[in-house]
Structure formats: structure tokens, C-alpha cells
Amino acid sequence: MALVMKKHAMPEQDPQVRAHNFNEVALGYDRETAIAEASRCLNCPKPRCVQGCPVQVKIPNFIAKVKSGDFADAIGIIKESNALPAVCGRVCPQENQCEKYCVMGVRGEPVGIGRLERFAADYDLKKPHEIKPIKYAADTQKVAVVGSGPAGLSAAGELAKKGYKVTVFEALHKAGGVLSYGIPEFRLPKEKIVQVEIANLKKLGVEIRLDTVIGKLYTVDELMQEEGFAAVFVSTGAGLPSFMHIPGENLNGVYSANEFLTRCNLMKAYKFPEYHTPLKVGKTVAVVGGGNVAMDAARTSLRLGAEHVYIVYRRSEKELPARLEEVHHAKDEGIDFKLLNNPVEVIGDENGNVKALRCIKMQLGEPDASGRRRPIPIEGSEFELPVETVVVAIGQGPNPLVQSTTPDMHTNKRGNIVADEATGATTKAGVFAGGDIVTGAATVILAMGAGKKAAQAIDEYLKKKA
């Protein structure tokens, strides 16, 4: 049989239409297309793709099951390694992970591993599942998880399955971390996917306590000494927004991406005034940054009614850290990429509202510490971009609330928690950490992997202690 060199396209909403609604952009394979795409896999005896997956999903095995139409078996295989396949199939940067290493990619396009993972997961989500609550013995040990993002959720699930009583403490009024407040609905449906996964955890017996800020309502020490938790897993993410520290950044109309996306996703400002939280989007918007967060903010702006949206990024297209698919989608929707430009000042009108973003043109010099070519300003090339809204999406740091109230849990220079890579163990006995709070802003799958490893280590720690 002749090899099909190209990936089967995934149907998606028309760019003209989707730029004005919050429904999911990519629609997923149907059965026939999934089977056809699965048939492109060579079922390699030494599968290179698996090395590219941070949690080593048994890729050829699950794809073989998709190919033979045994979808329930396929999802079973995926779930052995990955607790949130419907999420990862959608948001993993596959081109840098599993698909990057697929042999089919050498001469043609790699197998659409992410799309097949999504297909199997969606098939599974549609089926009713009976989840039996875990029956706990009276002396079951309690474990606390701080933060309900992918790291916390996967740790909670693993620990519950190992028989521990798990309580997840979440600062916001909704669980899910970035999956709920950051990544937009049009990329990751909240009710259909994120909330279903959380509900399943609850059915298993995991308790989720919302509105509980650790470091404020309870410290980690209080959880262990007064509330009876034998171990704690800290997965508070990278939630502290960075600003550019340029003049005019406090003007009305300048948002951090966190604020912009939180107002839209968590507070549902896109349904204003039915939902009461407002979000102001001008006719022209500049989003500063080139990662997933920037793409999400730019595409959200369009959907909230902006007529012209710029991405202002200081390096070139090649260095854009966002997922390839998101860059393509953004372009198709009409986002205007102002590459090799760096903001130097936000300019306001007499009422304190943004009226322009002053930028300087950049060129690429020698590679810097990150291995990417360093952007250098071109003298005298400043120009003004007339915009009414500026969204700053240049990265997030660690929120210090937990660290500053847990002195014997050490942090590094950047404020991230120091934790053993293999176990997540911190410098404080019984306290483990993982996800973005340890690594700095990274990916969903890495956070989940860290949660899983820590659950294993917590189990070993508690067994040894007993």
C-alpha cells in the first residue's frame, strides 16, 4: 500500500465565522478519518515518537487500536500514562514532542498523534461512565494538594487511586488552573472537557475546596500540624504576571494577559452583561509576546469585537514559542503579526486611556543563553502603532504566597520552589512540589507528568514513614 505522506486534515470552523464566536475551532476527526490517519502509522518496533512524549504514552499500541476500531481499548492504553488525554490531544505542542520524532515526518508529515489522542478521548467522554467512590479505611492517611491545575489534578487522581484521602485546595472559585482561567473556550471547551474531568475526580472521592488561599487561610505547616495532612503537594503554577516596565503601562486599557483572559474565561466577560464582569476591548488591540498566551489573548480580542489585532513580538517568526497550530489559526483569522518589534512606551490620551503603542524595530544578532538569536534594537526606528488596548503577554513568574509562608521550603533565585526532578521532594520533609511552580511556565503535559511522579514519591514516603 502506498504511504500517505500528508496528515489527514482536521475539520475546523471557517476562519471568518469562528473569529466571532467562542465555539471550539478544531472540530476533531470522525471515525473514518481517524482510522485512515491511524493507518499511516508504521507501528515501528522501536517507536521514536514515544521518546518525544514527556509521559511516554504507548503511541503505536493505542494507534493500532484506533486503526482496528477498538476505540475503548485505545483510550485505555493512553490513560495508563496520561490522565487528561482530551486536554493533551488539544493543547500539547506536538510538533516539539511526540510528532517531532515520528519517522513519517522525515519524508512527509508525521502521524497526527495528538489528533488521534483527542479522537480517542472524545469518544470516551461521550460514553457514560460509572465511577465508584473509593472506600476508605478509618485510618486512611490524608494528603493535601495545593492548586488545581493539571499538576494538582493528576497528583490528586493518582493519590486517590493509591488509597489516600485527597483534598485539593484552590484559591479561585473554580478548579482547573490555567485550563479554566487561561486557555480559552475556543481551544479547550470548559464544560465539555475540563469540568467533566474534575467531576470524575470528585466521584472518585477527591475533595476540592475552592476559595481557599494557602498561605492565607492555612499555611502549609498548619495543614500538616493542625489539619492532619501527612503530606502536601504544592502545584500553584506560574501565576504572577510580568510587565514590561515601560512608561505608560498603568494607563487604562493596558491589561496583563492573566487579567484579560481571566476576565474572559473565568468570569465569562464575553457574556457581559448577563455575567457581570466587564472587559474593555478597543477597535485596535496590540498583544505583546509570541507564546500561546499571546495567541490566546489576540484571538480572544477578535472574538470580543476588535477589528484589528496585532501581535507585537521582538524576535522573528521562527522563534515564536507558541504551538504551530495556534500561529496558523491566528493568521487565518486575520491577526496581524508585527514581528521584530519591541514596545518602548504606551501613550495615553488626556483621560488616561491608551491611544498608541510606541515600538522600536529589532534585528537579530548572535544567539543568547537560550540558543535563540538575540534581538537588538535598530536605533532611530521608533514608530507609533495606534491602538486602544494593549495586552502584555510576556511571561509569568511564581506567585510567592505559599513560599513566603513556608520558610523551610527553599526557592531558587527566580522564586521557584526547589524540588527533586525525579520525586518532586522539596527541602521540607513531607512537602513535594511540581508543575510550573517548579519549572517556570511550561506545558500541561509536563505539569501532569510532575504530578504523577510526585504521587508515586508521596506514596513511597508515607509507606516508609509508617
Binding site: A171, H173, Y218, N250, E259, G352, L401
Partner: protein, 282 residues
Amino acid sequence: MYKILKKELLSPKVWLYDIEAPQIAKKAQPGQFLIVRTDEEGERIPLTIADFDRAKGTVSIVFQEVGAGTEVLGQLNEGDDILDVVAPLGKKTHIEKGMGTVVCIGGGIGVAPIYPIARGMHQVGNKVISIMGAKNKEILILEKQMRAVSDEVLVTTDDGSYGIKGFVTNALQQIIDRGEKIDEVIAIGPVVMMRSVVEATRPYKIKTVVSLNPIMVDGTGMCGGCRVQVGDEIKFACVDGPEFDGHLVDFKGLMSRQRMYKDMEKIESDHVCKLSTVKGEL
């Protein structure tokens, strides 16, 4: 869910609620705030913890109905539950023995949050002179409580219907002019009031603390929406504050940012009005 145990009207459109929240009551300190949400569609509304009773396990809020969110909150009754309460947020007020003479200034409903601070200052033995300001006698709140925790209380009303006629700054000037050695001033109230207090103490270099109320979303340092310029630094009021050295605060920027959603608040308020009439007709 957090039950409202007591609801009391302090002055027109100003409510006091005692809310059942034992763990919050256990941890709350003067100067801190909480965030409430009344329903699934509602905003997150920041309110100062006006009082706490660790034994009873309650915290109190005093709020004024100013827009859609606080109106919905005001419609709840004793026995009703508040959907979400997040607390205690922000840093506590710096209170210790030996601070000397402290002037606690509360303007309008700012008297509510200044009350636990005055009480705390008094409990550790500092001399507390309180200034309470209101538009008129009718809307002055918590006078009895303030008198119980102060060595001296001065009341000002804009119209002279009670106490000194004028603003809290007039009373403050009187205290300064009589030669009282003031070690610290703490002022909570409308931004214009706090700004005037800061200008009144600046020439005398009296340490002046103000409690800021920029627009907030999460209250945990995650969104940066509450940022204010303090000296040459950008601070997040929800985690670095809400109290700051008033002589360093950029009040102009703060006021400008507070106006950000004025036009949308109108749309929202009309929407909620319509909803409540519909509900009323059903």
C-alpha cells in the same frame, strides 16, 4: 456556602452583615479584606473585613450599595448563603506596642474598616485619636463602637449637622495645631479624602498610611489589575497592600484606573435592574 447570621441597616444603602466563617474568623487581622461572589454570574467583590469574632466564628462586612454587584449582595437576607467568600486577603495593619499617638481617620463607610484598626491600636496601649467624617449626621456609622476604642473622637460633617463642620482634614489640622505630637495617621475612605489627608500631613512629615481600593479581580496577585504606582515601584494592592505609605501613592493614577469601567457599569446596572423587575413580577 457562608451563611448571613445578621443583617443590619447602618444608614441608607449601607449594610452590616455578620457572616458565619469560622476559619476566616480565626485567621483575620485588622487591615485585611475578603472577596465575595453572590451568584454564578456575579463579579468578585472585594470588601474589608470590618470585624471578626473568633469565639463566635463570624466575620463582619459593611458595604454600600453603589452598583450592580453590591445591590445584589444587599438583597440577601439573614439566613441566606453567600456563594463564595475568599479571605483573609492582603497584609495586616502594622500594629504594635509603643507606637505612640495614632490618629485613625475614617471617612464615610471607611469608618467600618478603620474600626478594627483603632481597636487593635488601643488594645496594645497606643493613644488613639479617631476622626470620623460623614456628609451629615444621618449617615454617620459606628459612632458608639469607635468611642469605645478611642481616647478621643472628633466627628466632622460636611453640612455641620453634627460635630465640626467641614472635612476630616479640618479636624486633623486642629489636632496638629494644638501641638499634639502625632506619630502615625491611618486614613481610610474615599480616594479624594485619603489624598487630602496625605497632603495635610506632608508638610509635617507625619507618617500616613492609606488603604487603597483599586479594581480587583482575583485578589491573590495573579491578574495585576489592582496595580498602583507607589514611589518608583508598581505594587499589587491585593498582596502588597492594601495599605501603603500615603506620601508615595500616585493618587491621580489610582483614580483614573478606578474610572475604567464607568460606562460598562451603567449597562450592567440597567441589566440587573431589568432582571430584578422581571423577578419581582413573577
